[in-house]
């Protein structure tokens, strides 16, 4: 049976439902963000963890030139090593019937019999390789999907220069390539790059590696030190062309998933805090309003013997209804958003089964935070009611104290109209209410800046990468370094307008105790293709000796121009050289090091060689060119700018659009809710004042102007603050993406600011107009009867 006090509660809620809904929705936004981000973190972390465990993902990885299989047994005996697995990983060129451009990929070996010890595969469709089979392979699912390949289809690839047809046995996933991209590329291009698995015997024979391995992975024994194991492995592999072992923290696929989790963590803390503090304030404002209205009721309840506790509880229940409403909507919303985002992750991350895992603790947290926020908002108001002596409460409240506003005291007060004066004095009398309305509007403006900044930054990155730096239309890599005369051969291909040689050389660059493994890019000093530019996009001409490194690499190494860097080459004769750092370049796709081509060859002790070339093409003859290219066996990979760009645009556009629609919804809800709440409270608190204005001859429009002036002043303060806040948010979030693989330039455009301003102004205006309609219902007669 409902108590009468609860019946009153229900009726109060019904009477104030607009405001109750506004508060609950703002709270729901914060909680949705919290539930979504925490659940996604939980989904990604737990799915990854289970995947790693079930498929025995290795903990240390090492590439080398070639070592006898017996060496693997010695690695396994190193202290701290639990399991070691040796195998083969080689780059191959593919010949796909349906694809103009040559595709490439990596082939990895599987034991001839039985499953691998580490990095076990997950079979999505088709079948495993039959024991001792030949001419069969397994294909990574992402590549197969992008190229519409199915088990049973044929696939041709060039193995060590020889073309061979394979039958696809099955499509698989590997814990090593949750994020699959060409080594060094920051973005996936699943159409032209894939990973393949075939029996050890077949691949080893094709590459003359039988009885040997060039890729080693291992797991650690409990309590083992990663650092010391890596050092021991490096020592052991060095004579065999070891390129330096690394742990999961440097594993490209692992890093990308971790980066995503880090971004989610930022989101799961920052945004909910701001949303919830606005909601807390709104709760306070609504409750204060209710208490003022019900002063006499409280007095009567007290006079009839209700305890303070009962009265406090009664009003707490009111707040609790908003919290529960907000938590339910927020949780449902967070789950719905999470489901949509998980689908988006499928574009980038491949798990056997990544589905949305609802983090129950997030709801508990959400509810806790929501209740906390409401309590914070309610307590002062409720305490005030409880302290009220009944007799005093039955008398009307004395008129509120006012004084001239600060701006008027500056001496320009006489310039203001009366409605402006009423507005500023009201604002100054209730600084907290004004502050939080400003905060809410600023927040709404701010969160709109983020997705657009992201979009602009990505587009700037693409423009930089593909218009400023890489002016070529296409790159190709050769299987082995070759004399520069190959360039003349390439120039003969149909459609070639210009061709430039380059050489990439794997090396470890060291300065002091810091080092990074990287491919040093050697290009002609006067290159027009892979240009090197400084922070102001001015071209840097590569000097005849010395290294130019990207700002990020200089930062990682803590090196500055003039420092002597130690370069340990990881190929050829593996020379170790001291090279001066002669310049710092801008590079948005991570760490990079550039050298003049001849200087690089010289350092390596080679003559004039190249291992790749870049082209300017007559795009009309593109097909012809690519067709001719497919016939050249020495080509190991090809990158076409246009298709990379399209691919990138599509994947990012989808995700940015989704994120933008989420932020847009949140911003509108907050702007709308905050303005609605503010205007409703002003309207209610000042019904008498506004009715008086109407009675003494002000038109509805003029009375509305008093309220609108107040909101306009708040909006004028909030918008620039919001733009600033958004700039801060975006800086924080976009630079959270700032890793060694991608560095997004944080770009703010006028369009971005204008859009945010427009949305907030529009949402606020509509909300305010909705409230102003209530001025028509203002009961002039009853508002004058008795003071509140």
């Amino acid at each position: 049976m409902l108590s009468n006090l609860d019946r009153k509660l229900l009726r109060d809620l019904n009477r104030m439902k607009g405001q109750v809904v506004a508060v609950a929705l703002v709270m729901a936004c914060g909680l949705a963000m919290l539930v979504m981000a925490r659940s996604l973190i939980f989904s990604l972390e737990s799915t990854r963890q289970e995947y790693y465990e079930a498929h025995r993902f290795a903990e240390v990885f090492a590439h080398l030139k070639r070592a006898p299989n017996a060496l693997a047994a010695r690695v396994a005996e190193l202290p701290g090593v639990a399991t070691a697995q040796a195998g083969i990983a080689v780059q191959v060129t593919l010949d796909l019937a349906g694809l103009d451009e040559p595709a490439s990929g990596q082939v990895r070996s599987l034991p001839d019999f039985g499953p691998p010890e580490l990095n076990r595969l997950f079979l999505r469709t088709g079948s495993w390789l039959a024991p001792g089979s030949r001419g069969e392979l397994l294909v990574s699912e992402a590549f197969a999907e992008a190229n519409q390949l199915h088990p049973g289809d044929q696939l041709a690839m060039l193995l060590n220069g020889r073309r061979k047809e394979f039958r696809i046995a099955g499509l698989v996933l590997s814990p090593e390539i949750i994020f699959e991209a060409r080594p060094g590329a920051s973005l996936p291009d699943n159409r032209t790059y894939g990973t393949f698995w075939m029996p050890y015997k077949e691949i080893a024979t094709a590459f003359d590696l039988y009885g040997a391995f060039n890729y080693l992975t291992l797991t650690l024994a409990p309590g083992a030190q990663l650092r010391s194991v890596i050092a021991a492995v490096d020592r052991l592999l060095e004579p065999y062309g070891g390129r330096g072992a690394y742990g999961r923290a440097d594993h490209p696929s692992h890093i990308r998933v971790s980066d995503e989790i880090r971004i989610l963590q930022t989101l799961s803390i920052g945004f909910p805090i701001v949303f919830l503090s606005v909601a807390a304030f709104m709760t306070n404002a609504v409750l204060s309003r209710l208490l003022t209205l019900q002063r006499e009721q409280i007095a009567i309840l007290k006079a009839f013997g209700f305890a303070n506790r009962q009265i406090v509880l009664h009003y707490l229940k009111f707040a609790f209804v908003m919290v529960v409403g907000g938590a339910v909507v927020g949780t449902l919303g967070g789950v719905a958003l999470g489901h949509r985002l998980v689908v988006m992750y499928h574009l980038f991350f491949r798990f056997p089964d990544l589905y949305f895992r609802f983090d129950r603790s997030a709801v508990v947290l959400a509810l806790g935070v929501g209740v906390g926020a409401a309590l914070l908002g309610v307590l002062s108001a409720v305490r005030r009611a409880a302290r009220l002596p009944p007799a005093e409460a039955m008398r009307p409240e004395p008129p509120a104290s006012f004084r001239p506003a600060l701006v008027e005291r500056t001496g320009i007060g006489h310039l203001f109209s009366h409605s402006f004066r009423i507005a500023v004095r009201n604002l100054e009398r209730r600084p907290a209410q004004a502050l939080f309305t400003v905060a809410g509007l600023a927040l709404a403006t701010g969160i709109l800046i983020v997705p657009n900044c992201f979009r602009d930054s990505v587009s700037e990155l693409l423009g930089f990468q593909w218009d400023v730096v890489q002016r070529q239309d296409m790159n190709l890599g050769l299987v082995e370094p070759a004399g520069v005369q190959v360039r003349d051969l390439l120039r003969q291909l149909p459609g070639v307008i210009a061709v430039e040689p380059f050489r990439g050389a794997a090396a470890r660059i060291r300065f002091g105790h810091r080092s990074r493994q990287i491919g040093i890019q050697g290009t002609p000093a006067d290159t027009q293709h892979s240009r090197v530019v400084d922070a102001w996009y001015r071209e840097i001409v590569l000097p005849s000796e010395g290294l130019v490194v990207s700002a990020k690499l200089a930062e990682v190494l803590a090196a500055k121009v003039g420092d002597e860097l130690t370069v340990q080459f990881l190929e050829g004769r593996r020379p170790v050289r001291t090279v001066p750092l002669v310049g710092v370049s801008e590079d948005l796709t991570g760490i990079a090091a550039h050298m003049e081509l001849r200087a690089l060859n010289h350092l390596l002790g080679d003559g004039d060689v190249m291992n790749g070339a870049s082209f300017t093409l007559d795009m009309a003859r593109r097909r012809e060119f690519l067709h001719a290219l497919k016939q050249i066996p020495r080509v190991s990979w090809v990158g076409i700018k246009e298709s990379l760009r399209d691919n990138f645009r599509q994947t990012t556009a989808a995700s940015i659009n989704l994120i933008q629609s989420i932020y847009l919804t949140f911003a509108i809800v907050v702007a709308f809710g905050v303005v609605y709440n503010n205007a409703r409270i002003s309207l209610a608190e000042r019904a008498r004042e506004l009715a008086t204005l109407r009675v003494i001859g002000f038109s509805e429009r003029e009375v509305g102007a008093v309220l609108i002036t107040e909101l306009t002043i708040l909006a004028l303060i909030a918008l620039p603050l919001g733009l600033l806040l958004g700039t801060g948010f975006a800086n924080g979030i976009v630079s959270a993406v700032n890793t060694e693989t991608v560095r997004l330039p944080v770009i703010f455009t006028l369009h971005n600011y204008a859009f945010a301003t427009m949305v907030v102004v529009l949402a606020s205006t509509i909300s305010a107009l909705l409230v102003l309609r209530r001025l028509k219902q203002l009961n002039l007669v009853s508002a004058l009867k008795a003071p509140e």
Binding site: A400, F402, N426, L693, V695
Partner: protein, 247 residues
């Protein structure tokens, strides 16, 4: 005591301001129907000070609200000079209130965020032919408290600001609803003096409604109101000065 007829007053040369015939106002429907006004016949003339006397619930506030254009009658005639208030649109009513009527309420209804001077100036800004706000405030003896906010003024002072606000636009009609209802005797008298002075010096038709029979003494005409209609009215041969009243 001489019985007054409209003809008498018209004969005295005072133009008629309000013409009310058979005015009814019904709130609610069916069984819940309440006849707040049950056929009021009344004429009010320029410059007179009329006191509308009646018990609470007699419908006098409803009549005042109808006269002031805050509320529309259910039936009957209600004319302000040649202007038929019963047919007025919302915009016309706003116009009417702005130009012709000054209101004084029991609870002052000042704008708390504006000073005394500004509360008055608020109206003079939108009025057709206002007096300076200071003049209006001087008239109610508040020349010294121009820049005080309502919270800094006593109840009587607030009510006098309300009177100043009402008369600053030089209205044709001043409608006062229980102007001393929330005040003690001494301050109540100061307020009545202000009303009296306004009526005398500006010649504004002043209608004061009250349930306090003592105030009848200061009127030109006393209208006794109960059960939603005028029961009878009488004229005071001489108006007693407000300062002589006591209750």
């Amino acid at each position: 005591m001489e019985t007054l007829t409209p003809q008498n007053l018209a004969a005295a040369g005072r133009p008629q301001v309000f013409h009310v015939r058979g005015l009814t106002k019904v709130y609610g429907m069916g069984a819940a129907e309440v006849h707040a006004l049950a056929g009021v016949d009344l004429d009010l003339y320029a410059g007179e000070l009329a006191v509308l006397l009646g018990p609470s619930g007699s419908g006098k506030t409803t009549l005042l609200n109808n006269l002031g254009g805050l509320d529309l009658p259910t039936a009957g005639e209600l004319r302000y000079r040649d202007f038929d208030l019963t047919l007025a649109s919302e915009t016309e009513l706003t116009r009417y209130r702005r130009d012709a009527v000054g209101f004084v309420f029991q609870f002052y209804n000042l704008i708390p965020s504006l000073t005394a001077r500004e509360n008055v100036a608020l109206i003079t800004e939108i009025a057709r032919d206002p007096m300076p706000p200071e003049e209006a405030l001087h008239m109610v003896n508040l020349g010294a408290r121009l820049d005080h906010f309502p919270a800094q003024l006593s109840g009587g002072e607030q009510q006098r600001v309300a009177i100043a606000r009402a008369i600053a636009k030089r209205p044709e009609v001043l409608l006062c609803d229980e102007p001393t209802g929330a005040l003690d005797v001494r301050t109540g008298i100061v307020v009545l003096e202000a009303i009296e002075r306004v009526n005398r010096e500006l010649g504004t038709l002043t209608v004061v409604i009250t349930h306090n029979a003592v105030m009848a003494g200061m009127a030109d005409r006393v209208i006794h109101f109960s059960d939603g209609r005028v029961q009878h009215e009488h004229r005071n041969p001489t108006r007693a000065p407000a300062s002589s009243l006591n209750w």
